[in-house]
């Protein structure tokens, strides 16, 4: 099975949603609008791995905010970030914790939309700790493996959506 297919299956097992889209800025913005129609408060974090132009159309979506107050961030509905890696076996994505607002946009918004290039999918988590994979980025960056939306079983049954995003939607650029 190819890595992208394996990644998609594992992502769904982890309660995330995923779709493949063409590598174009309008396609990304359209996918966000399809997934979160009419979102009022959208945070867009600058990519560092992908070309910055790919997020141009997202920055023009109605509802994008750029302020930096606690109040604004507390009410964020959608956070758009890049993921610099995907992990096929577990359906995880790797998202920077810092890199400007990437950490906040992937954490504080109710819905996290992550953009991942198909060629950045590796086979297993341990690959992030090898210098010969992803140019060793996994050995240098400050990041988080994100596997599905935030979840808890502490209140009895399994509940999705705790302190982090309630929904995780992954856009694979092919």
């Amino acid at each position: 099975m190819d890595l992208v297919q394996q990644f998609e299956d594992a992502t769904r097992d982890a309660a995330a949603t995923v779709e493949r889209i063409p590598r174009a800025t309008a396609e990304i913005a359209a996918a966000v609008e399809r997934f979160a129609p009419g979102a009022q408060r959208i945070a867009v974090a600058e990519p560092a791995n992908l070309p910055a132009e790919l997020f141009d159309a997202c920055r023009k979506l109605p509802g994008v905010f750029t302020g930096r107050t606690k109040k604004e961030w507390a009410a964020a509905e959608v956070g758009i970030t890049e993921a610099f890696a995907g992990v096929a076996r577990t359906g995880s994505i790797c998202v920077a914790m810092d890199q400007g607002d990437t950490g906040y946009a992937s954490l504080l918004a109710r819905t996290h939309v992550a953009v991942l290039a198909a060629e950045d999918i590796v086979e297993r988590p341990a690959d992030l700790f090898r210098s010969d994979r992803l140019h060793g980025k996994g050995l240098r960056a400050n990041y988080v493996f994100v596997t599905g939306p935030s979840a808890t079983a502490d209140m009895g049954p399994l509940v999705h959506g705790v302190h982090g995003p309630h929904q995780l939607h992954i856009l694979i650029l092919v």
Binding site: A153, D154, P157
Partner: protein
């Protein structure tokens, strides 16, 4: 007439310190009555998920070896790594502090908070901060602390200690959380589902995250070369804690340091799978703080980020110099040893745990970070060994608990009583601290020898109520348990007669030569299982002799009498070596004895010769059914023709329960394969252990717990039988048979007895 009131149950806090045995027993009572159902449901779910998740890792065993090797290397180089780590943290722009004691760590943290004018702290789950009593220390300075992990949030409200190292509040059912929140928050909001409770807690805490002046976390791993921390979670509260407030303080034990970031690979894959049974937990953060490239969200001027790493010793360097407790420092706190533990599944960590740490590994940690008396709860480790193959860093947890048991016995006993036991009973001085109860069970070989010589007398005596009352009062043997009868004649004496009748063995022609080890349980208690084994092995053409009856050390080891067990192991292995030299394999009836040869003797047979002997014993000793299956496959025999199940006078529907140690050493699967191959319709039990676990279930103080564990097994028998006809109950372990008998009140058969009944007379199979 007045009815004696039932004494009120203790609160979890009141029974956290179990340095007195009476507190341990009170904790078991509380746990069985209040927390048991939620613990069982949650822990068994984690247990099932772990089996699924680890089975999906193709190189799981190799990853465990790698993880273990990294931890061994890290511990050996700890002093250099500590210096490297300090340099890395400072290079990154952070502050580093090494705290010798819990007080040092708490004081430093309080000082940092004071200097930064911290009023509000958000805190992520950290067993280490529980260990050092951090909250209490900060609250004294007027700092408000919000526990943000939902389980810790519950515990903070309820004022309870964690009951599990991964799921600290898994002893709470949804209903009990609803009741707690309604009472403490005096709210009319609907709180009747997991979603409603989560939403309620989330809203309370979101505000705290944004207003916090500091975030305090622990760490799962720390890489020395880069100052990288790894933190694993599923809720997102740790990500909040380390990212949102401008000040981050991470407090963790010195054992969490590994050499480099490149070493993280195996741990990242093992922790989620072994812990919550997910391929990965929702969030695994990998970062080298301070996070300079993440501007702080602030309404006014943006404060500077500050990071402090507090590494604590608090007893760990003493553990490191202890040849046995040192193993516990490899622990990555996944909780697998708790989840696969039958006793833990029944009571959880408020009974099977101390003030911070719980479960199989918890005793070593409480002993190491506090003192030996705090490890008393490790008596609930029955040595069933299920955790041995589940630990991702291969810690032999039952061995740690055996050593703790021996040390506790010494700690508890007076010098005078030790001297008397040495003088009167010939107990080696290292074991002389053992209580009368432990001596009774630990030297079962003596009881067996005299009991079977005087079987008519001993068996009659053991049925007398006076005897039972004496045994209960002096030895702590519960009167509700039926005692296994002593057999006369023994296996060895019957086998001698049998050999004389049969004439010389056909050693020249036999393809397989073996010795049946006459273990004390089979020899004195249940020779019929041994005789059946002789018949079955004879039927497949094995040239078989029977050894003399020898204690193997299992009974002594289970009571923490290590010196006695060592002496017995040396004697038994020397004897068995002569059979190995003759080219005979070793066949064992009792699984706990086979587990001695395959697992425990590595601790008992010392030196180069001992190691070699252990290796050869391990490779050439077999469970009886496992050996039959091996011979049948090697010789290409038709198992169904030799043992046609259809002829069984008992029918072909069976329920098979394998012994806990049998599962660990890998002899359960071949037994099941053999029973199926000969034509039985087999349903197997799905429990880790029956709950009897050797002598454990006989002990008066643990009788209720033992039966609570057994109920899972009894329920599975009932489920397998449904409304259909009964199944024949089959079990390999002696104590499993006793437990199944106690629960079902039916005859329990050993696999060899089942097969021996089917043996065709020589020649008939071909006819």
């Amino acid at each position: 007439m007045a009815v004696a009131p039932i004494p009120p149950l203790d609160s979890p806090r009141a029974v956290a310190n179990k340095s007195r045995k009476s507190t341990l027993l009170a904790a078991i009572r509380m746990a069985l009555r209040v927390e048991g159902p939620a613990v069982r449901r949650n822990v068994q779910t984690l247990n099932r998920n772990r089996y699924t998740a680890t089975a999906a890792i193709p190189d799981y065993e190799a990853l465990k070896d790698q993880a273990r090797a990294i931890k061994e290397r890290a511990l050996a180089q700890q002093d250099e790594l500590l210096a490297t780590l300090e340099a890395s943290v400072k290079r990154n722009g952070g502050h580093f502090y090494f705290a010798r004691t819990a007080e040092d760590a708490a004081r430093y943290t309080a000082e940092v908070c004071k200097r930064r004018g911290v009023r509000r702290v958000v805190k992520a789950k950290s067993m280490t901060s529980e260990e050092i009593g951090l909250n209490h220390a900060l609250e004294k300075d007027g700092i408000e602390i919000a526990e943000t992990d939902l389980a810790e949030f519950i515990l903070q409200i309820a004022d309870e200690q964690p009951s599990h190292i991964v799921g600290p509040a898994l002893h709470y059912s949804r209903e009990r959380i609803t009741e707690l929140f309604k009472r403490k928050f005096q709210t009319d909001l609907p709180l009747d589902t997991g979603e409603e409770l989560t939403k309620f807690a989330r809203e309370k805490l979101r505000e705290k995250f944004l207003e916090a002046d500091a975030g305090i976390s622990g760490a799962n791993f720390v890489a020395a070369d880069s100052g990288t921390l790894v933190l694993v979670e599923s809720e997102g509260n740790i990500r909040m804690t380390i990212l949102v407030p401008p000040l981050h303080i991470a407090i963790t034990g010195v054992e969490k340091i590994i050499p480099s970031r490149e070493d993280l690979g195996p741990f990242i894959e093992l922790l989620g799978a072994s812990g919550t049974g997910q391929p990965m937990s929702s969030y695994t953060s990998v970062f080298s703080p301070p996070l300079r490239d993440a501007p702080v969200i602030a309404d006014a001027a943006e404060p500077e980020r500050e990071f402090h790493l507090v590494i604590i010793d608090n007893g760990r360097s003493k553990m490191r110099s202890d040849p046995v407790l040192q193993e516990a420092l490899y622990c990555i706190r996944c909780g697998a040893c708790s989840n696969c533990c039958a006793n833990f599944q029944a009571v959880g960590g408020h009974a099977f745990g101390g003030e911070t740490y719980s479960g199989g590994i918890g005793g070593a940690w409480e002993a190491g970070t506090r003192d030996i008396s705090r490890a008393r709860f490790s008596d609930l480790c029955t040595g069933c060994s299920r955790c041995v193959s589940q630990c991702p860093v291969r810690i032999d947890i039952p061995w740690l608990n055996t050593v703790l048991r021996q040390r506790l016995s010494r700690h508890d006993s007076s010098g005078a009583s030790r001297a008397m036991k040495e003088a009167l009973a010939g107990v080696p001085s290292a074991d002389a601290g053992a209580s009368l109860q432990k001596l009774f069970f630990g030297r079962y070989d003596i009881a067996g020898k005299w009991g079977s010589r005087l079987a008519w007398f001993a068996n009659g005596l053991s049925r007398l109520s006076l005897t039972r009352s004496l045994l209960e009062n002096f030895v702590g043997l519960d009167h509700r348990r039926s005692l296994p009868a002593f057999a006369s004649p023994t296996l060895v004496s019957t086998a001698k007669k049998w050999a004389a009748l049969r004439g010389p063995a056909r050693s020249k022609t036999a393809r397989h030569r073996a010795v049946l080890f006459a273990d004390i349980f089979t020899n004195y208690g249940s020779p019929s299982r041994g005789l059946a084994t002789l018949g079955v092995l004879e039927a497949i053409g094995v040239d078989l002799v029977v050894s003399e009856a020898l204690p193997d050390g299992r009974a002594a080891l289970s009571q923490g009498m290590i010196a006695t067990a060592t002496k017995q192991a040396r004697r038994a292995s020397t004897k068995l070596a002569t059979y190995l030299a003759e080219g005979r394999d070793i066949v064992v009836v009792e699984p706990s004895v086979l587990a001695m040869f395959r697992l425990d003797y590595r601790h008992l047979l010392e030196g180069e010769d001992g190691r070699k002997l252990y290796e050869s014993l391990r490779g050439r000793s077999f469970d009886a059914a496992e050996y039959v299956w091996k011979c049948i496959q090697e010789d290409g025999l038709d198992a169904g023709a030799i043992f046609p199940a259809a002829r069984s006078p008992r029918g072909t529907r069976i329920f098979y329960h394998s012994h806990c140690q049998q599962k660990t050493i890998g002899s359960a699967a071949p037994t099941e394969a053999l029973l199926r191959a000969v034509g039985f319709d087999v349903v197997t039990s799905q429990v880790e252990c029956c709950g009897m676990a050797g002598s454990f279930g006989y002990k008066k103080e643990y009788y209720d717990l033992s039966l609570a564990v057994g109920r899972d097994l009894f329920g599975q028998v009932q489920l397998a039988e449904g409304h259909g006809e009964r199944r024949v109950l089959v079990a390999t372990g002696t104590s499993c048979q006793e437990q199944l008998h106690a629960g079902m009140q039916r005859e329990i058969v050993h696999p060899m007895e089942l097969l021996a009944e089917l043996v065709q007379p020589v020649g008939a199979a071909q006819a």
